[in-house]
Amino acid sequence: MSNIKDYLLHDFFVTGEPMIYMADVSIVLVTIAIVVVLTYFKKWKWLWKDWLTTVDHKKIGIMYILAALAMLFRGGIDALLMRVQLSAPNLHFLDAQHYNEIFTTHGTIMILFMAMPFLIGLINVAMPLQIGARDVAFPYLNAISFWLFFVGAMLFNLSFVIGGSPDAGWTSYTPLAEKSLDPGVGENYYLLGLQLAGIGTLASGVNFAVTIIKMRAPGMTLMRMPMFTWSTLITSIIIVFAFPVLTVALAMLTIDRVFGGHFFTATAGGEPMMWANLFWIWGHPEVYIVILPAFGIFSDIISTFSGKKLFGYNVMVYSMVAISVLSFLVWVHHFFTMGSGAAVNSVFGISTMAISIPTGVKIFNWLLTMYRSRIKFTVANLWSLAFIPNFVIGGITGVMLAVAAADYQYHNSYFLIAHFHNVLIAGTVFSCFAGLTYWWPKMFGHVLNERLGKWTFWIFVIGYNICFLPQYWLGFMGMTRRTYTYASGLGWMPLNVISTVGGFLMGIGFIIMVYNIYYSARYGERDTTGDPWDGRTLEWATTSPAAEYNFATVPEVEDIDAFYDMKKKNKVKEWLNKPIKDIHMPNNSGRPIIMAGFFFVAGFGLTFEWIWLAIAGLVGVFITMVLRSFEIDNGHHIHKEEVERTEREAGRIS
């Protein structure tokens, strides 16, 4: 008995850290609050029937975005804790181990559980609407993707209260991340959490690629697709070819840690640098997975609020294709200092610099789209406009880092930190906020408050620059990445203080955004037209929020910017009054969430190296798959009378 108690208190639960106790208490309180609220308002059935079992791409998208916002909060708290710790020399706000854990979870969460799901959420919401489809190609698989991401994220987040967090950085470099140097379950959480979410992402990639290639509305040729859809297609192809590498790398390190293999150990013939190679062969395409959809979002928004067709549409597509190819050819630039020699480093330095060419082309195309147009400074467009100069700073410093010889100076310094935050925040995060504001009415039927949105925008963008610009100088002054504290004589404090202030400004911006979501839900302007921005692409041709079946009749496409074209040719009414037929839709299913639950059990079992539990979980997964295979699921039809009633209520037909 005392053995079990001893185990629970010393190994299972994380103990002895006041902040973690606070987290424990808040987790319990939030859970109780959710249960009480759902029970009090009798919402359990609603939650299960309308959300947890849904296969509707729009609802799955919303769930992705909600989860991503929660993860942004978690990752943001980690960031602020780090900034506090660094704001003065020799501070002991966090100890070294806690700091290691926090930068690890910050990086991992922000990339894999915030940026990617946020974008996949927006893709889910908008892409099928943009191509005039009724859903994605495999709606059931889409639900599995979401729930796998969700349980992966939960497994990863569980680490800080049960068992201990991973602490080897988001890159989890070996041999540091091997069992001999990093005992405990923290790294296992990293491996299994990412593995589950990664399988979900791979399925999303296949799903989106097939949807776009096979399910476009009649007349929508590839070269008439909205730019966001193009970026999704290219991203999906990158996912299909990059994510298996992550799957393999994680599996190999799991084999090392759990089963005693020697892939990346420093002994018995292992090769630690294999991990760095495999990780970045996935990892570099990954940064394009989170930036290309961002480019797509900015393209659509800039074109909409300039009231013009996107400048250089074809070139935009070709440059994205070029970027996607190059993205697989640059991975060594993450470890020039590994010592591959001058020849190898030069090749990868040049291929890295080459990426700036198609990217630069895109920047000019955005600028030329705006040239001589009447730009509307809505919040969504403000984010897009701020993206251009801020992203260019990140891009230029990226080219500096690509110079292999100079990189020996910049490597793993705060210069690098500033660089990748400059591209990931100004690129991905701005695009997420822009896309969220832009498509919010399509998701919820009301517009986000512009005034509060502008407050968020200015505070966040100014805070972001105050936070990261000083870090370039800190890098030049010799401050290294993952440093937990520093001596007082180095002169790093003033810039660190400034940086911390900037970090908190970003936090304030985020809080205003959350308040805006609440405020707009209550008081926000309702979008009754379905087209609040004078949109150009097909998602604005349907109601806000879109009906379950998306379009009562499938639109026919005659040009780029299909909906704008339809409006210009006065064909909208004609299209709406086309005869409505029965619509075939997929059935909801509770199995994806149950299957993901079994995956969670398997992941948790492997994390704690309780092989029996892992096997039990995998058997559960297998049984749910068999049940699916034997299920006869022909979907259901929404009858035309019901569609007509819905459309009439929305005032779209008389």
């Binding site: 097939v210 892939f263 150990t265 013939g269 295979s629």
Partner: protein
């Protein structure tokens, strides 16, 4: 590949519905991902080939007779699987079931041989934990073996469905896709045969 929406008598049954066309295409895309997965394992194996850390080397372990029989079983199973698909096109339910059952038996023979091979190696002191070479060997060949085992379970499930409901658009699509999977594993084995066993014997 038939992409036309119009259904005519030349369109194979598995392509006759939108659902079938989407799922078959989706599976091709998935196989693209599988190619990358195996490529990584092959590349790792090549990196670790000579990192035997004083343990057994490929030369000590591989037995020509055994891996030739394994190869023969699996390649033949791919042929019988193809015959099953041929019967599927002729909509001959019994033919499909018979050829797929033969495929299953050959596949089981292959997996049995492989398990036997692994047990032998472990008996000779060549374990996953012995050296980086062996870790990568067991991972690469084992991953393929897991795929084949999963394929066997998958085929059994689909054969039960075919026996129950006959050959229709749904079972035809499932049989066709599992056939693609099976042939894919065969191709991977051809590479394992070359990269692992032949290279191991020659180099």
């Amino acid at each position: 590949m038939s992409q036309s929406n119009s259904l005519n008598q030349h369109t194979p049954l598995e392509y006759s519905t939108e659902d079938g066309r989407l799922k078959i295409f989706g599976f091709w895309v998935f196989l693209g991902a599988e190619i990358i997965l195996f490529s990584c394992l092959f590349a790792s194996y090549m990196v670790y080939l000579h990192r035997t850390a004083g343990g057994p080397t490929p030369d000590d372990l591989y037995d020509v007779k055994e891996f030739m029989i394994e190869t023969f079983l699996l390649l033949t199973s791919s042929f019988t699987c193809g015959l099953g698909t041929h019967e599927l096109r002729r909509q001959n339910k019994m033919g499909v079931i018979i050829w797929f059952i033969i495929t299953l038996i050959l596949g089981l023979g292959f997996v049995g041989m492989e398990i036997h091979e692994f047990v032998d190696y472990v008996g000779e002191g060549a374990k996953l934990t012995t050296s980086a070479f062996l870790t990568s060997f067991f991972t690469l060949v084992g991953t393929h073996g897991c795929h084949v085992s999963l394929g066997i379970l998958w085929i059994i499930g689909i054969l039960i469905q075919t026996a129950r409901t006959g050959i229709n658009a749904v079972t035809a699509r499932k049989l066709f896709i599992v056939g693609l999977y099976w042939h894919f594993l065969d191709v991977v084995w051809v590479f394992i045969f070359t990269v692992v066993y032949l290279t191991g014997m020659v180099l």
